[in-house]
Amino acid sequence: MADGFVEGFDNTVDDALFWLSDNADFLFDGARVVLDGFYRLVLDGVGWPPAWTIALIGGALGWWLVGRGFGALAALGLGLCWATGLWPETMDTLALVISAMLITLALALPLGVLVGYTTGLDRLIEPVLDLVQTLPPYIYLLPAIALLGYGTATALVATVIVAMPPVIRLTALGIRQTPEAFRELGEASGVNGWQMFTKIRLPFALPSIMAGINQGLMMAFGMVVIAGIVGSGGLGKTIYDAIRTLDIAKSIDAAIAIVILTMIIDRITQGLVPPKEKA
């Protein structure tokens, strides 16, 4: 009986996916073209300059936003990525993370603001976010690959799915926790709704939003590596291939490159967080 039910459920899901890919094919084809195109655009951006330019830019950002020591380390680290011969793969991965993050922000920031403003909506959306964050990330590859096929688009979609929850959550939190006294200041000064948002709520929410973006980025890095399985390219693919051929040295090189990239992006985005107000 239970078996029958499970089988029925599985069949239904299968049918639904097939139905979708049969009947809404043009839609998913379109989506794939757009996503791939977007990724190529970003990749052209980061892949085009010579390696040393990127290393210098990374070093300069690190110096400016974190500190001199970190700036030097960042430049050195990127140099190391280049030295291992994995530079194109490193840039592929960077482009994947950046394009996934841009899509994530475009979706999650407005959604987070909406959740922050709407009482009750958070109770509706919290369980969904919890679920998304609890399931193992590679789960999201399955429906994506069924609909979008093997390749970058699938990797992007799965990455966006795992990167969105922290951004939504912390944006909503930031918007909600405007100090009472400042809300009153706004009201008493005669602000309209938009001014309340831009002049009062947003500045106070910024540290929280930036923390959300930072967390989202870390999730994205994790996913982008896993997405090597579905042909995302980049370091994920390098590691996946290296595992299959037991090329341990190469997989270690790729892992190091990922760690370096992740650490640089992590510290730099943390450096973007405005310091907590002292008053």
């Binding site: 100090p179 006294a181 400042f182 009153e184 200041l185 009201e187 008493a188 000064s189 005669g190 602000v191 309209n192 001014q195 002049k199 009062i200 500045p203 405005p274 107000e277 002292k278 008053a279």
Partner: protein
């Protein structure tokens, strides 16, 4: 009460604010059977914020609301610009019923006519002093150059011209509150609402700000509603004082009226420790000319030193101790309106028990 003819800018008519669901029943319980704040909490699970408060603020007047913590002062002042909607009753500002204004008109009323200063100051931490002071005009869409000029001018009035480009965290508490006041002044409102603006400051700075605030308000011809839990502060700053207890205003009057004639034991206890020598004025102490003539037929009025009706007891003590006859004539516009003797002065300094309060007014 002092019946000045100045236009009434803020008129509150039996305002109520009950926090909770059964507000109507709670209001009835209080107004019909005199239920206390505790009764209302117990019976209706509602908190009485303000109960049946009426007050009028006239143009040019500084009106203090004094009461202990939790007596409803913040709730009352927030109904004057409708940050809080009354449960019952009306607020008229410049003759306009606030509850009838639509959002746009209410915004305009707040932006142009009613300034507000908070105990927490609430300076935006990511903006400079100048940008904070210009916030009100920025919200109204005034171009940057114009609002900066106005903000500079009001910062100059509070003595902060040297600090324009600093951030709030670089300023002391007293200076921050000055910025708060400047911010309220920049939009040039007629009415300024102040919710315990100086309560968090240390006593010396506080005194200084009290005096500056009063002087500035009078100079600019502003009207203010000033909230405090400190009677000394209310007396120092206010033209008139309302005393609140458990949401209700139990007495309104000048410091002199309240001290000479406390409405009940609660007020009497409150004012018990206040020194009267600067508060009680000649017109409240003097006896009629006829009575003096009757008591002292031998003393000619024009041989007495003259004092103005609003000369305080301290000044009168100075004059009377110099006078040979031990009396001072109170003269208003060349006309003797009363006489003060040593005995009158001593009586004025004796604290009247509340029961006797009634014979003064």
């Amino acid at each position: 009460m002092n019946e000045s003819r100045a236009e009434v800018l803020v008129d509150c008519q039996s305002l109520w604010k009950i926090f909770g669901d059964k507000t109507e029943a709670a209001i009835r319980a209080v107004s019909e059977r005199g239920a206390t704040k505790a009764d209302v909490l117990q019976q209706f699970n509602c908190v009485v914020g303000v109960s049946g408060a009426s007050l009028q603020v006239r143009r040019g007047e500084i009106f203090c609301i004094m009461g202990l913590s939790g007596s409803g002062k913040s709730t009352l002042i927030r109904m004057l610009n409708r940050l809080i909607d009354p449960s019952l009753g009306k607020v008229l500002v410049k003759g306009e019923d606030l509850s009838r204004l639509d959002t746009a008109r209410l915004r305009e009323m707040r932006a142009r006519h009613i300034g507000m200063v908070f105990q927490s100051v609430a300076l935006l931490p990511n903006r400079t002093v100048l940008e904070n002071a210009g916030f009100g005009l920025e919200v109204q869409g005034v171009p940057r150059a114009e609002r900066n000029a106005a903000a500079r001018a009001s910062l100059a009035k509070v003595g902060l011209s040297e600090w324009l480009d600093r951030y709030p965290s670089e300023l002391s508490g007293g200076m921050q509150q000055r910025v708060g006041l400047a911010r309220a002044l920049t939009s040039d409102p007629e009415i300024i609402l102040m919710d315990e603006p100086f309560s968090a400051l240390d006593p010396l700075i506080r005194r200084q700000l009290q005096d500056e605030f009063r002087q500035l308000t009078k100079e600019l011809g502003k009207s203010a509603v000033f909230i405090t839990h400190d009677l000394d502060e209310a007396i120092r700053i206010g033209d008139r004082i309302a005393i609140m207890k458990d949401g209700a205003i139990i007495q309104t009057g000048t410091a002199e009226e309240i001290i000479l004639n406390p409405a009940d034991q609660y007020v009497a206890d409150f004012v018990a420790g206040i020194s009267r020598v600067h508060l009680v004025k000649a017109h409240s102490v003097m006896i009629p000319v006829a009575e003096f003539r009757h008591q002292h037929p031998d003393i000619a009025l024009d041989t007495l030193p003259a004092a103005a009706p609003d000369a305080d007891v301290a000044a009168l003590i100075g004059q009377i101790t110099e006078a040979a006859q031990g009396a001072v004539a109170v003269v208003d516009q060349g006309q003797a309106v009363g006489v003060i003797t040593m005995r009158n002065l001593l009586l004025s300094l004796r604290e009247a028990p509340a029961a006797q309060g009634g014979d003064h007014g």
